[in-house]
Point group: C2
Chain length 112, copies 2
Amino acid sequence: MSQLRRVGMVIGIKPEKFDEYKALHADSQPGVRDLLTKYHVHNFSIFVQKLADGHDYLFGYYEYVGDDYEADMAKLAAEPRNIEWLKLCDPCQQPLSGKASWAIMEEIYHND
Amino acid sequence: MSQLRRVGMVIGIKPEKFDEYKALHADSQPGVRDLLTKYHVHNFSIFVQKLADGHDYLFGYYEYVGDDYEADMAKLAAEPRNIEWLKLCDPCQQPLSGKASWAIMEEIYHND
């Protein structure tokens, strides 16, 4: 049965790579939009904000609407085009200490 | 005509006030949930994450689905119960430098 799972996540962005990252994610760029849809990742937004430490951070939000989150994430990760996509994005990002990629945040509030 | 506006925003949370803030926002607490709905603020989530500077940050996401964002936000701000609510929440939060409250982030990516 289909579930709705909201995911909020955060990662740093390297200042010298910010323009490149933004261009990769422009509305005109297909990127892996079709793969996100295929694996039930919807309503995906990324926001950016400079924080007190002077670094820019990316905040991602999406909704998973399939019936097996772990399986779909594994299939997405194995897609050759997703692997190529991450080869472009990963060097732009600066994961939080101890994280390999985006840090999944704890949700403390929700109101439909 | 109804519009959809996605808002991503961030603010610090004072460590000594985190438990209180979380309790205020528990699923069991009505808070101002009805007022958010009344003024067309939907799908509102707040996430928390400790960042490299050792501080916890709150990340908020919501969707405005009314037809006059500025007018609805002004009406919400004027609601006596909202004013009381902010008297509880504001002392827990630590706005980013130069901000009076939540900092509205720039959206750099969206995929439906």
